[in-house]
């Protein structure tokens, strides 16, 4: 690992998460009762975390530029609704799958375009999108399906193949491509540059608007894949209730992975490890027999604890930077 590539902070965070994940796995292995197979836990991990990880990869790029997308859950809802409507009208599976991914990509692009065109902070645009897209999904379902009762069922197994059969494989393949691309391509470095200083970018002759758009574009592709897996794992698509709070899980994983919320620092590897950390923490709680009522509180406390400790450790550096 070359030293110029990752900041000391990121390296420390990756090491901490890797060690933490291994520790959590050891705890899971010791907590497991007779008859449970550890290999099965690992095999189940892929499909379970695929939506969060894929959406998280997209979010990482967007946050690296200093923007954020709070509307991803609603985008998944729209993609799911489009998918459900097409299934309802008996479209062939490939058409449904492609439409699902394309919808997510288009909405993500729309977010990027709106941020650029209106010059309004991304957090506001996507906060609006959070409400707006869910509303659009509900209206689309009302209009396209007679007597829509709030839920679309997808009974045929063939429509569930991406989520139930290929999820793990798709995740691994996408991850490999993403990590290699991040290492060699220029675009992710442009995102970091934009997140560090928009002014410096402009002076260097880079177009900040186009860089931002590319982050939302690539993010949209990852989100599209994540949405496809999310949507095809569930039996019922309920636009009003589906994926509530999903964006928090994703942002939690991204931030835990060491990506700076203000942009300019971060990477895909951290996000993957962060998502795994949150997932394994939840698994440990399940295996330890902790009441499900306590699980959210503990998950929240873990996020606050890890990030709080980390920020406190870097406080002195930040204060010194302020003086410079």
């Amino acid at each position: 690992m070359s030293h110029g590539r990752l900041s000391r902070f990121l390296r420390q965070r990756l090491l901490f998460l890797a060690a933490g994940n291994i520790a959590l796995l050891v705890v899971i292995a010791t907590l497991m009762k007779q008859g449970g197979s550890f290999a099965e836990v690992l095999a189940r991990c892929g499909p379970n975390i695929a939506p969060v990880v894929l959406a998280g990869l997209g979010m990482t790029g967007i946050i690296c530029t200093g923007a954020i997308d709070l509307s991803i859950a609603s985008i998944i809802v729209v993609a799911g609704t489009v998918f459900g409507i097409l299934v309802h009208h008996h479209a062939p599976p490939p058409v449904c799958f492609i439409a699902c991914v394309a919808t997510a990509w288009l909405l993500s692009m729309a977010n990027g375009w709106l941020v650029r065109a209106l010059k309004v902070p991304a957090i506001i645009i996507t906060l609006a999108g959070l409400a707006l897209y869910r509303g659009l999904a509900l209206i689309a379902a009302d209009v396209a399906i007679p007597n829509f009762g709030g839920s679309l069922s997808v009974p045929e197994e063939v429509y569930h193949t991406p989520g139930k059969v290929f999820a793990g494989g798709m995740l691994l393949l996408t991850l490999a491509v993403a990590l290699v691309w991040e290492w060699f391509a220029k675009t992710p470095r442009h995102w970091l540059a934009l997140g560090s200083s928009e002014e410096a970018c402009r002076l260097l002759g880079l177009a900040p608007g186009r860089i931002l758009q590319s982050a939302f574009g690539v993010g949209g592709l990852f989100l599209g894949l994540g949405a496809l897996i999310y949507v095809t794992q569930i039996q019922f698509i309920e636009p009003a209730r589906m994926a509530l709070g999903f964006e928090l899980q994703v942002i939690g994983a991204v931030i835990l992975g060491g990506t700076n919320i203000f942009g300019g620092e971060g990477g895909y590897a951290g996000t993957v490890l962060g998502a795994l950390f949150l997932y394994f923490t939840a698994q440990v709680m399940t295996y330890a027999g902790i009441s499900p009522y306590f699980q959210d509180a503990i998950a929240g406390a873990v996020i606050i604890g890890v990030i709080g400790m980390d920020c406190a450790l870097h406080r002195k550096e930040k204060l010194l930077e302020e003086l410079a």
Binding site: L114, L118, K119, V120, P121, I123, I124, I125, L127, A128, G129, L130, A131, L132, Y133, R134, G135, L136, L138, I139, D142, V143, L244, L248, I251, G252, I255, I261, F262, Y293, F294, Q295, D296, A297, I298, A299, G300, A301, I303, I304, I307, G308, C311, A312, H314, R315, K318, E322
Partner: protein, 325 residues
């Protein structure tokens, strides 16, 4: 955006929805009576949002944000609801709720000020944490001890809720607008480093602002439980979004260093009128539209937010925008 534009939007909305709802008036007195009950109802209904929006305006002024507001109100309400009802409620549950509220708010503030966690991250974490605690306290139950407490119902009616809102907005707002504290809060929102060099105890001010948010969340929990009479662990999800949309619509900038309490007041009412209006227009919608009109609310909320912010940043004179970063 100018305040009169917000007022204009509000009036147009009220006129439009009154016309759509199919009310007919035969005399001026009837009209006055209708609007009196309409606004009384509106005020009671939106009292929790108004109270929390007051705090959120101050939080946004410090260049922070509080995503945990909804969870905080819910948690306080949940804790209140686990006390036995009866006259004793006033001197057991209420002080405990108040102390808890200040603690929750100050926790947010401490994370942000003393551990240097970015506000959006800190409150995102506490949002999940506080909501988790709601489930720890309540499980799957829905409790409603509130209406058996003597005098509690008054808090949800125009007398109590209206009085609280008036006290907070008129007295609190006036006191705030004249205070040195306000200038310090605005300055640290505008430029934290400069504020530190100017001798403002930045950390303390931030903790104070978030603790105040806790206090307002407590008042909101009182009015909410008095009006809705029951609470469960998943009450008030999405509440913070409603509050933030209202505050931003009212002209407060998310980048900090500026904002208006009067704008916030109008912002909340604009959304409340829309909410009420769409509910009133449900029948008209069923006959004329191919979709449920209530779904339109999400779309309008999003559009309003973007339009409001866009107008805000494009209609404000240039000199007030400089130094925003």
């Amino acid at each position: 955006m100018k305040k009169w534009m917000l007022l204009l939007i509000l009036l147009v909305e009220v006129a439009f929805f009154t016309a759509v709802s199919g009310q007919s008036f035969h005399s001026g007195a009837e009209l006055a009576g209708y609007f009196r009950s309409y606004f009384a109802d509106l005020l009671c209904q939106s009292a929790p949002v108004l109270l929390v929006a007051f705090g959120m305006t101050l939080v946004l002024m410090t260049a922070g944000i509080d995503l945990s507001a909804g969870s905080m109100v819910a948690l306080i309400a949940c804790v209140l609801s686990s006390f036995p009802s009866g006259p004793g409620f006033w001197w057991t549950a209420v002080p405990v709720g108040l102390a808890l509220a200040l603690l929750l708010g100050a926790t947010n503030g401490a994370l942000i000020a003393w551990l240097d966690v970015p506000p959006i991250i800190a409150t995102l974490g506490t949002m999940i944490f506080y909501r988790g605690l709601c489930f720890v306290v309540m499980g799957d139950l829905e409790k409603s001890p509130f209406l058996a407490v003597p005098g509690y119902e008054w808090l949800g009616q125009l007398g109590g809720a209206g009085l609280l809102v008036a006290l907070v907005f008129i007295l609190g707002g006036m006191g705030f607008n004249r205070s040195r504290w306000r200038r310090e809060v605005l300055m640290l929102g505008g430029n934290r480093v400069a504020a530190r060099y100017a001798g403002i105890s930045v950390g303390r001010r931030i903790v104070e602002v978030y603790a105040l948010m806790g206090l307002l969340a407590f008042l909101a929990a009182l009015t909410f439980t008095a009006r809705n009479s029951s609470v469960s662990a998943s009450s008030l999800t999405g509440f913070e979004l409603q509050v933030i949309v209202a505050v931003v619509l009212g002209g407060t900038r998310v980048q900090g260093g500026g904002g208006s309490l009067l704008g916030t007041f109008f912002g909340v009412l604009i959304i409340a009128v829309m909410d009420e209006g769409l509910r009133g227009a449900a029948r008209w919608g069923e006959e004329h539209l191919p979709f449920k009109i209530s779904h339109l609310e999400y779309v309008l909320l999003g559009t309003l937010l973007v339009a409001g912010v866009w107008l805000n940043s494009n209609l404000t004179p240039r000199r007030r925008q400089s130094g925003s970063d």
